[in-house]
Subunit: 127 residues, 2 copies
DNA sequence: ACAGCTATAGACTAAATGTCAATAGAGTAG
DNA sequence: CTACTCTATTGACATTTAGTCTATAGCTGT
């Protein structure tokens, strides 16, 4: 076993990644316009832990998506409290969401393939 | 629509992420020892495109996993051609793989939830 | 000798994520 | 009236992960 290359990372544990947030946000916006904070309240539907979830991630994702032309935003001055930016999904965003759905289906199928291979392995080892 | 903040990224398309490679490698190693290049030949089983897949990713993943104590490697001098490093999975690696399987099942379920929500939305819009 | 394949490794780049702190309006408990 | 809390958005910075490109080196066939 070669000696470490000075890359001791403690433990390679990270959270899920796979850019799951943006499709979730697009889907929520497809149900109707919303602002960042209200979207934050909705993300636990998709398995995110609302308590530990940093709001800045949502705002960043929304701004990125606006730069891509997937969503549109305007300030809402009617509401009480601090001004909120209200987002709407654009046709480009609906297209991107539908592409994402296709990619996610494929990803799911690949995960299923790995799980099946793993379980197959386990059965072999039990024999 | 705010003017761009100088963040024109062309198009936000990336490949799948989710650290899928390492669990695939661990699973392949669970079936028996192997070296990097032979693992490269096996990854298309999991949906990777062997042609476009850069071998250095495999070697890096293997070294990372060795640093974590999940696999063990030794030089194989018996083989012809350039020396190859042969990897074996360690008990730590089997444990990590089983944890990964649990995480992947959860990820798959979350993808399924999003897909179901998307399809539900579509049906509503058709009405 | 050299072209091509097998095999591994390193450097550099780019992108995606995560963490923290700053700002600010409104309502409310004391 | 002021300190505190909740809603709301933003920016800076750090870390992690993934992707590209290049280098090295042994063997094989010509």
């Amino acid at each position: 076993m070669r000696g470490g290359r000075g890359r001791g990372k403690g433990r390679g544990r990270r959270q899920r990644v796979m850019s799951f947030l943006k499709p979730c946000l697009l889907l929520m916006l497809a149900r109707g316009e919303a602002h960042g904070y209200s979207l934050l309240d909705g993300i636990d539907e998709f398995g995110f832990d609302r308590e530990r979830f940093d709001p800045s991630l949502i705002y960043r994702a929304l701004r990125d998506m606006e730069d891509f032309g997937w969503v549109y935003s305007r300030w809402d001055d009617e509401s009480q409290g601090p001004r909120r930016r209200v987002y709407q999904i654009l046709p480009e965003g609906e297209i991107r969401l539908s592409e994402w759905v296709i990619e996610l289906r494929r990803t799911r199928d690949e995960i299923d393939a790995l799980l099946a291979a793993y379980e197959h392995n386990q059965r072999q080892n039990d024999k």
